[in-house]
Amino acid sequence: MSRESSIFRIQNSKESFDGWLDRTLITLTHASSNSLQTGCWFKAIPMWKYTFKRLLAGVITVWFIATATFIAMHSVPGDPLLNDKAVSNEIRKNLEQRYGLDKPITQQYLIYMGNMLRGDFGISFTQQNRKVNDIIRDHFPVSAMLGVLAVCFAALGGVVWGALTAVYRNRLPDIIIMFLVILGISVPSFVFAALGQLLLVNINQFVGYSLIPVAGWGTVLHMLMPSLVLGLGTMALLTRLMRSSMLEVVNEDYIKTARAKGLSPLRIFVKHQLRNAILPVITVLGPQIAAITTGGFVVELVFAIPGLGRYFVQAVQQLDYTVIMGTTVFYGAFLVLMVILVDILYGFIDPRVRLQ
């Protein structure tokens, strides 16, 4: 659903790219003289107002995410204090008091929201000495690093493969790459992760020493395989996007002109086709970074990477209330922010999205 709509938007922005600067300028001028515009049948909202509206909607979305998570979390049977070995009623009572779980649920909700507004996500139930804020601060950069690298792999691969398939349209390279693309979209990442790791084990055994570490975190070599595996799905997606975008560009008039001018095919490919076709790919990168950064649970598990994705999933299994809330709200806000950023950028690039 979101993919479709983003592709749709990209098409719009591409069409209008040629004139985006003019339009932005016009809009800005209009915005400053908004009151004089009453005679016009359409008008654009001023940029600051548009941005403010988007941000407000974002805040409401995050509040909604927090509330929904809170309700869902408390409706699941069991609680974080349950353990393998049951404790006596006295200990149980003391524990509930310590964590404030003895209060009525509405009061817990208000206290939690109050703390959250102050930026305090509380203390983890499973790692009882760590603040959720610390957990996010320690582990999010790892996930982000992995995510950014994965997106780089995906973007680079997507552009190259996509362009190649377009150039060799309906010929053998196209068929092979598109087959791989379908594989990349349909095979889940834990399969690729396991295969990738096995490949590393065999490479290392072949060369006789640990050439590329099979798991762990710390150096750039540790990051290669996990980010490649994590980026594969997106790479496949971008390849398809790039291919269709390239095919559209091929038939444009300016390509014909370039050919008529007698430019070399390589120059046409790099300077005219690639540069114009790459725009839609760049525009989906923002949301993709967010999606990849939040979706690395399996890869983090298989490659023993201390990222936040593990906490995100394990907290739910362990019903670690504070960590569930902290990671969900944080990731929710992160995604919302990414979407808002893209929206605002569109507002600049294509004023039509700001029409009243």
Partner: protein, 538 residues
């Protein structure tokens, strides 16, 4: 146009160094440095001895901390921080050694034990393991809020003497001293940390054979030999490096194959891989018991003894272990008291053996007929089996479903839940059969016998028998080991005759270990695997 200059060269070297650095990183074992690298399945959730409850934390704490007693390389209980002790009826006096030091150089004193124990039993601390302290005088009353903390039967007349008064006689009190919940904590250090105690490596003091020198959450821990440890001469390893933390079994096996870690535990899947790769698979008994709890409260068909005994009559532990579990190290269980438990002189199981229940389908069907008559139904209603949603849990459930259907014509509905929901439902008695396992807290038959006592919160089937409780009190209270074990044998008989629970298997573990690593001790209790006395050979 790029021209190489000095600055660029430096950058290139730096990048090269960065890329090449893993090559000189951790290897599984290193003889010259006497260091090993291992992996953990999860981040140690809590290294605060007064609050922790999980095995991963116990593993780390067992290497970096020490109680009054400890277990040696051959699994015997020996002196730890306490040099000697006297037991006089209800009084135990520990004499602490002078050269037991904290990692900041100050001596471990009796006050450190006093502080930790009072802290745990204080209801305000809400310590999950508080009830393990109940054998101490007034502990239970304090914990229930009926007496002040100062009433605890522990005193420190001087720095090196700790006097403990017991509530009742307790045959296993010395063994309890090796448990993390009885480790010392130094008050001034604890107070200085506020709520940061045990949050990072530097927020803890160590008095064990090793000390934690670095801890990167969810990524790595480094335990280095503690040069001030009183028995440092017996410790060969200089460093235990936890290089990886992941729950993925296959990743850990891959790390082992790549010479990245020195020991790895195998599950049902990876054990096949290891065998295929011709690795030498070792096994040991982990001390737990896998069993089925029956719901014996009103309304459940399993309240009827014939139903329970019918299931007992068709369940073959040997077939179960060999065909269904199929993990080397598991053993069929015919009694609820596992084979490692001590009896009077030797092992309990050898001194009080049980005849395996005869597996007989005909007996099972007859029992079901009498159950139908007693319940006055045409057919035993569908039973609900509650289990944790895991590959092993599902495998066992499906086996039981097939078994009950084919042998007894009983329908079994499998209720597969996530762990927390499984716990919640089992505590509310929302099951007829409950797939369970139990791992010991201390080295005594009580750790199992107590589980079916009528007041135990872990007695989830709701079994309550005065007869059982009577013998149980004797096992707990008597000092004569013979009397205790005779009483335990009575309990064993009741459990089997009444089919209170159905023991299935003694848990085991299969693992592979680096051939240059020697002296690793596998333990049923405390830190396992125990690398304290391990060494790397050439």
């Amino acid at each position: 146009m790029m021209r190489p200059n000095k600055g660029n060269k430096g950058t290139v070297y730096l990048i090269l160094l960065w890329i090449l650095s893993p090559m000189c990183l951790a290897e599984a074992v290193n003889y010259d440095r006497q260091s090993i690298t291992i992996a953990l399945t999860q981040e140690p959730p809590n290294l605060n001895t007064m609050r922790t409850t999980d095995l991963v934390s116990f593993f780390v704490l067992g290497h970096v901390m020490e109680g009054l007693t400890r277990y040696d390389a051959r699994g015997r209980l020996v002196a730890g921080v306490a040099e000697s002790w006297e037991i006089d009826d209800l009084e135990v006096t520990f004499h602490l050694r002078k050269n037991a030091l904290w990692s900041d150089g100050r001596p471990v004193t009796a006050h450190d034990f006093l502080f930790a124990w009072q802290h745990i039993i204080d209801p305000a601390s809400a310590a999950p393991y508080a009830s393990i302290h109940y054998p101490i005088l007034n502990a239970e009353a304090i914990h229930k809020g009926n007496k002040p903390v100062t009433a605890l039967g522990v005193s420190a007349p001087d720095d090196l003497t700790l006097k403990v008064s017991l509530q009742n006689q307790c045959g296993y009190f010395l063994k309890l001293m090796a448990h993390a919940a009885f480790f010392p904590v130094r008050q001034d250090f604890f107070n200085r940390q506020h709520d940061r105690y045990a949050a990072e490596a530097e927020n803890l003091l160590y008095n064990g054979p090793f000390e934690l020198v670095s801890w990167v959450h969810d990524a790595s821990l480094t335990m280095a030999k503690n040069p001030d440890y009183w028995d440092a001469g017996s410790i060969a390893l200089h460093q235990i490096e936890v290089g990886y933390i992941t729950a993925d079994n296959r990743t850990r096996l891959n790390l082992f194959r790549n010479n990245g870690i020195a020991l790895v535990r195998l599950d049902g899947e990876t054990v096949k891989d290891a065998a295929n790769q011709k690795l030498k698979v070792r096994t040991f008994v982990t001390g737990g018991v896998a069993f089925i709890r029956f719901n014996v409260t009103k309304g459940s068909p399993t309240e009827n003894i014939h139903v329970r005994r019918a299931i007992q009559a068709v369940f073959d532990p040997e077939l179960f272990v060999n065909r269904i579990m199929a993990i080397p190290g598991y053993k069929p269980a015919y009694t609820f008291f596992p084979s490692w438990l001590a009896g009077v002189d030797g092992k309990f199981q050898q001194e009080y053996p049980v005849a395996p229940v005869k597996i007989d389908e005909r007996v099972g069907r007859e029992l079901i007929s009498s159950a139908r008559r007693e319940l006055s139904v045409n057919r035993i209603p569908q039973l609900v089996l509650l289990t944790v949603a895991s590959p092993t849990g599902n495998k066992i459930s499906e086996f039981l479903q097939g078994l009950l259907k084919s042998k007894l014509d009983i329908d079994l509905r499998i209720d597969s839940q996530t762990f927390k929901q499984y716990l919640a439902k089992s505590r509310n008695g929302e099951f007829d059969l409950l797939l369970s396992s139990w791992f010991p807290d201390f080295d005594d038959i009580m750790t199992y016998a107590d589980l079916l006592g009528s007041g135990n919160p872990n007695n989830r089937g709701g079994y309550a028998s005065e007869e059982y409780d009577k013998w149980l009190r004797l096992v707990q209270g008597a000092t004569d080991q013979r009397v205790r074990m005779d009483a335990a044998a009575e309990l064993q008989k009741i459990i089997i005759d009444e089919a209170m629970v159905l023991p299935m298997a003694e848990t085991g573990s299969a693992y592979v270990q680096h051939h240059k690593l020697k002296g690793v001790v596998r333990r049923v209790l405390g830190a396992d695997p125990d690398y304290t006395y391990a060494r790397v050979v050439k």
